[in-house]
């Protein structure tokens, strides 16, 4: 059999459930139109300079044709110096405008690309917290890295180059029609071949290139994991398996390379034969016309040289067309974020007081599967509530409902009588903050890392916040103080220091209610204990809902709720619960305490 079938395994196929939407064709189209409209001027300028450069480039063939005509007529005056001057002038104009085309093209592409990535980030940071919690940031992260990367090529090169190519080809054809009208149909002889070949190719190419790129990325990803997990790989003696995996990834990737190579093995002869057919038909048909005396030798020369020049724009169009198709998919993924309803909230809903109430709350992540069932709870201002229970019981979910991140399916969660889920996220977070295991230290200065909690804060306030969490010691010892660059690539902070920064942010943001979700669980015990002292200072006077993972946290709480299977099965103070004969909490406390 001739040809190569597409490989069965597709590395670009999604493996995890898509959590964020992909833009519908209509959304993508609307966005592209908006983008074009925004940059209409730059497009027009690009086309204008391009027109000048192409017209100037046709001066050569035209002047040579004229000369050939006169030379072959022998007798007439040649005007050689004038022709050569014109030729040189046209050449200089062409060179200057080619430079302009290249530059304007890049400027346009870069501006569109910048718009695109900034737009996307603006949309991303406006996503409702509930969607972020549920979807995680992984999908978003791959969109902002992989998809932006892919689009970079399209915006930087494909869009301007295609614009240039189309204008170029049309002008050349136009030039041919103007100088040698009878030869224009000769060019069209090759069109059917090109159309059939390209249709075949472009039907298969974009998805194949996507798979190929994903396959190559998987090769690098497998290695990156082997490196990252070096200790684990060695401890479990996984070296051979990792090598086997890398080899398998190479095989999967190269299978797609082989397939796309086959696609090009069909396309290339088609393009080459198209060019040859164009040149051949112009030469032969034109030659016959000259023999018949319908056109002059000069016109034939001009026509043949222009036909030869058509190679470049046609190649340019074909070269970048599939890039644009690949980019379309990435664009749909970026634009998809726009399809998510932004967090609206009702500005009229405002809390009156600090009481947190949960009233017969039901909640589930999936249709028909409730994680929480008929949960009712009251947390009085200034009290500490500890949620304890086995993994998967619904503690974290309940915490997120109390922090206003999710809306209950049924029932109400209110703060000061106002429903949390109906408030705008900005208002919710001025009252309630959720602190989880994620102590992200942003790339940037220590100051930026704190300022985000209160953008108006002075340096003195920042130092006070650091002092409140016992972090001013090490922070003052830093060479550049608040200007020290931290985060990945900067100064590496210990997990405990990262946690202190998270706490200092809380001091600055100053919400009256805190939901702590295993905030210190990823720290080693010694650091955790040190931090808990800082934490205690931050918590002082605030309402606290702590998802307790160590029993001593529960012990210190005013009220303990034992959550099992989505329900609160025990509720009371430590003493009350320990006294319950056969109670879950009592049993655990005894095993902990001996």
């Amino acid at each position: 059999m001739i040809g190569v079938a597409p490989p069965a395994y597709d590395p670009a196929a999604p493996t995890t459930a898509h959590t964020l939407p992909v833009g519908a064709p209509a959304t993508v189209r609307a966005y592209v139109i908006e983008l074009f409209r925004r940059h209409r001027r730059a497009f027009l300028v690009l086309m204008a300079v391009n027109t000048v450069s192409v017209v100037a480039s046709m001066a050569g063939p035209w002047l040579l044709g004229d000369l050939v005509e006169r030379v072959s007529d022998h007798a007439r005056e040649l005007h050689l110096p004038l022709t050569v001057s014109l030729f040189t002038l046209a050449l200089v104009v062409q060179a200057v405008f080619v430079q302009q085309v290249r530059l304007r093209g890049a400027m346009l592409g870069e501006r569109m690309l910048a718009d695109l990535r900034e737009d996307f980030l603006v949309r991303s940071v406006g996503l409702p917290p509930g969607i972020l919690e549920r979807a995680g940031t992984g999908d978003l992260l791959s969109r902002i890295t992989t998809d932006i990367d892919r689009l970079a090529n399209a915006m930087r090169e494909a869009v301007p180059q295609l614009t240039i190519g189309v204008v170029w080809a049309l002008l050349l054809l136009g030039g041919l029609v103007v100088t040698v009208p009878p030869l224009a149909p000769a060019v069209l002889v090759a069109v059917p071949l090109l159309v059939v070949g390209c249709r075949w190719y472009f039907k298969r190419a974009p998805s194949a290139y996507r798979s190929e790129a994903a396959g190559y990325a998987a090769v690098a990803a497998a290695l990156a994991e082997t490196v990252d997990a070096g200790r684990t790989v060695e401890a479990h003696r996984l070296g051979e398996r990792r090598i086997g995996l890398s080899d398998r990834r190479v095989k999967e990737w190269t299978a797609w390379e082989r397939y796309t190579l086959w696609l090009r093995s069909v396309l290339f002869p088609v393009i080459n034969l198209t060019h040859a057919t164009v040149l051949g038909s112009v030469l032969i048909i034109g030659g016959v016309f000259v023999l018949q005396g319908w056109i002059g030798v000069g016109q034939l020369t001009t026509g043949a040289l222009i036909a030869q020049m058509l190679v470049d724009p046609v190649n340019l169009i074909l070269r970048w067309y599939d890039e644009l198709q690949v980019a379309q998919v990435s664009l749909a993924r970026l634009v998809g974020v726009r399809d998510i309803e932004p967090d609206t909230g009702d500005r009229a809903v405002a809390p009156d007081g600090r009481d947190v109430h949960a009233d017969r709350v039901h909640f589930g992540y999936r249709e028909g599967v409730d994680v929480l069932r008929t949960v009712s709870l009251h947390v009085a201002p200034g009290t500490r509530l500890a949620l304890v229970g086995p993994s998967g019981a619904g503690k974290s979910t309940l915490g997120r409902l109390l922090a206003g991140i999710y809306a209950p399916r049924d029932g109400h969660v209110t703060l000061g009588g106002a429903e949390l889920s109906r408030m705008p996220a900005e208002r919710v977070r001025s009252h309630v903050a959720l602190v989880n295991q994620e102590h992200h230290v942003f790339v940037g200065s220590l100051r930026d890392n704190l300022l985000l909690a209160r953008t108006s804060a002075t340096d003195a306030e920042l130092w006070a916040a650091l002092g409140a969490v016992d972090a001013d010691g090490w922070a003052r010892a830093l060479d550049d103080g608040l200007d020290t660059e931290v985060g990945s690539g900067g100064l590496a902070l210990t997990p405990a220091q990262a946690q202190q920064i998270a706490l200092a942010r809380l001091v600055l943001a100053d919400p009256h209610t805190l939901v702590l979700d295993e905030a210190t669980s990823l720290l080693d015990p010694r650091a955790a204990r040190h931090l808990e002292r800082s934490l205690a200072r931050v918590l002082d006077g605030r309402t606290v809902v702590a998802i307790a993972h160590r029993l001593h946290t529960a012990h210190d709480a005013d009220v303990i709720a034992v959550v099992e299977n989505g329900r609160i099965v025990e509720l009371g103070s430590h003493e009350e619960l320990v006294a319950v004969e056969g109670g879950a909490y009592a049993a655990l406390w005894r095993s902990w305490h001996g």
Binding site: T15, L91, L238, L283
Partner: protein
């Protein structure tokens, strides 16, 4: 080498002494591919260069009103067209094949190097560099290796065309032959600056991408506490910097394009001027003039390859240097081990007591089909701290300093990063065994075990004794809710074993990750299992169940757990307190809680009077104490025998 034959069964031993040597080594290993690319390239470029001769012949035929010669020109054109199409397609196939086989070979070499370096990689700065070579440098290396033969074909063609023009039309040919080198080399001096600007732009773009992904990674924090505008502004300015750098870089490339138009153009003007003069004199025909003009136009195509090879080399040289450096990395310690795995029992012949455990412990392949022969067994003893983990028992180690605990745990597995007296397993120094044998005997699960991406089945498919099923291990590590979470995030996995785990298990919580890692270690079922804080992120309810499950599953096997959790300590046969680098106390949990203030300080956070109330010494504990004294004696014996 064909693409379908990849991957290489053995990618070979690279010459990694320097970047250029590495490039040479790669090229040398694909002679067939390079030759093919050269041959097809010659056909392609020569056919392209034949076009102007066809055009000239056709024009001349028209001038001379010769229908026959016009048809001949058409025939020549058809032949050239076939040559172009064949040459182009097969040159492309050969070139891409060369690129892919070179890239695949380097990727395979990197994978082998990474697997060999193992834990040594994470300690070195080199870890990032290996990944950088794989993601960025391989492409550039492959590009240059592939471009060499293509360039050679183009250069040969240029020379051939110049010679042909001189022969065909000496007067004009000489002009072209003199002009071509200028055209070919004129832009080369600009290339370094252009590539520098391109590098600068890439660096800026990398920075912007980093900021964006960092902002997205911390988005939950931002949405939870505020500061979105601050970060957006920061990103906007970074993004605009990228744009400016890109435009600056484009300015340079635009200049290069202009020169590429101007110089061949000027050559054409000279050709026309001189050619028309010659034609009027009658020294050349019109057709010849058109041929030479058209040739100069076409020559720009092979001439581009001069620029390409220069760029490919300037890009690939630093890449090849980095790749060579990575590929020449070696482990700091000798992974082979001074002691052959085939040691005999002679060393222990004179001693008795503890060392008999060693001779008993050397398992044979017959006794345990799943394990390789001669994996030692017996008590695990660390002479540096005096820590002893008796064979078949669950020993818990409490250490006030978590960093010291991590280092001690690492040492217990043998072949540590820092040299120290070797840990003994059944009297055999682990450092002297081959690395693989030591790792087989003792599995150390560090504080941050990495979950490798893939299906759950793949994650749990580790070299193992085969005695512990995945189901049992998952049950012991209390992974039921982890399986639920995985099922939620997967597309269509009916069997929980088919669910996907993302890189480093990022979609799971810290506690869930820990439990999966624990399950993986339990499946391995090694002779000695060392766990460093295996449940620090797990809630108390679950931790209590894990303690019971793990104890039952490891019944009769040697297990060492570094922990400060009473729920785990309570299940240990023997608890050792390590303080400031030496064993400070040995006993069982309840007894140490009562008798050892330093222990109590590390393990509990309760006040002294509470401790006094809770600790009661009973009969069982006295037994344990007795056992523990026995071990102290053994300890001395080992020291003597070592």
């Amino acid at each position: 080498m064909q693409i379908q034959d990849l991957p290489y069964a053995d990618p070979g031993t690279p010459d990694a002494r320097s970047g250029p040597r590495f490039l040479w080594w790669l090229g040398r290993h694909q002679p067939g591919g390079q030759f093919k690319a050269l041959a097809w390239g010659l056909l392609h470029f020569a056919s392209v260069s034949a076009l102007p001769f066809c055009v000239g012949a056709a024009v001349q035929a028209a001038v001379d009103h010769s229908g026959g010669r016009l048809a001949l020109a058409g025939g020549l054109l058809a032949v050239a067209a076939v040559g172009i199409a064949l040459g182009d397609t097969y040159l492309h196939r050969a070139a891409v094949t060369n690129w892919i086989t070179a890239a695949a070979r380097v990727q395979q070499l990197l994978a082998r190097k990474a697997a060999l370096l193992g834990s040594a990689l994470t300690r070195r700065v080199a870890a990032g560099e290996v990944v950088a070579v794989s993601t960025g440098d391989v492409e550039k290396i492959g590009w240059f290796v592939e471009a060499v033969s293509r360039f050679t074909a183009a250069a040969l063609t240029v020379v051939l065309v110049c010679v042909a023009l001189v022969v065909y039309q000496p007067a004009l040919g000489v002009v072209v032959a003199a002009g071509v080198p200028v055209v070919a080399l004129a832009v080369l001096p600009l290339l370094p600056r252009a590539t520098r600007r391109a590098d600068f732009q890439r660096e800026k773009a990398g920075r912007a991408t980093e900021l964006a992904s960092d902002t997205v990674a911390g988005l939950r924090v931002l949405r939870g506490i505020g500061g979105e505008e601050l970060f957006l502004d920061r990103y906007r300015s970074a993004s605009q910097e990228v744009r400016r750098a890109a435009v600056r870089s484009a300015r340079m490339w635009a200049l290069i394009s202009a020169i590429q138009v101007l110089l061949p153009g000027l050559l054409m003007v000279v050709v026309v001027w001189y050619g028309v003069y010659l034609a009027r004199e009658g020294r050349i025909t019109v057709g010849e003039l058109v041929t030479v003009y058209s040739s100069v136009m076409i020559l720009t195509y092979p001439l581009r390859h001069f620029e390409e090879i220069a760029m490919a080399y300037s890009f690939s040289r630093p890449s090849a240097r980095r790749a060579a450096r990575v590929l020449s990395l070696e482990r700091a310690t000798d992974a082979g081990g001074v002691r052959d795995a085939e040691f005999d029992g002679a060393r222990s012949a004179g001693a008795d007591g503890v060392t008999t455990a060693y001779t008993d412990g050397v398992r044979s392949a017959e006794a345990d089909g799943m394990r390789s022969a001669h994996v030692p067994g017996g008590d695990l003893y660390d002479p540096a701290t005096g820590l002893l983990a008796p064979a078949g028992r669950l020993t818990a180690v409490v250490c006030g300093d978590p960093d010291a605990a991590g280092l001690l745990a690492e040492r217990l597995g043998g072949h540590p990063a820092e040299r120290s007296p070797s840990v003994l397993l059944g009297g055999v120094p682990l450092d002297e065994l081959p690395l693989d044998t030591a790792r087989e005997a003792v599995l150390v699960q560090d504080k941050d075990p990495v979950l490798l991406s893939g299906s759950l089945r793949e994650l749990l498919d580790v070299p193992a004794s085969g005695c512990v099923s995945a189901r049992d291990a998952l049950a012991a590590a209390q992974c039921a809710d982890v399986l639920d979470a995985l099922a939620q995030g997967s597309l269509d996995a009916e069997d929980p074993m088919d669910t996907r785990i993302t890189e480093r298990g990022r979609s799971l919580s810290g506690g869930q990750r820990q439990r999966l890692a624990l399950a993986r270690s339990l499946i391995t079922d090694p002779e000695v299992l060392v766990l460093d804080e295996p449940t620090s992120a797990v809630d108390s309810h679950t931790e209590a169940r894990i303690a019971r499950g793990m104890r039952d599953l490891r019944e009769g096997r040697t297990t060492v757990v570094f922990t400060s959790s009473p729920l785990l300590l309570d299940h240990a046969d023997r608890v050792v307190l390590v303080h400031e680098g030496t064993v400070a106390a040995v006993g069982v949990h309840r007894e140490l809680l009562h008798s050892e203030p330093r222990y109590r300080a590390v393990v509990t956070r309760e006040t002294d009077e509470e401790a006094a109330l809770s600790g009661v010494l009973d009969e069982a504990h006295r037994d344990a104490l007795h056992r523990n004294e026995l071990h102290r004696d053994e300890l001395q014996e080992i020291e003597e025998s070592a």
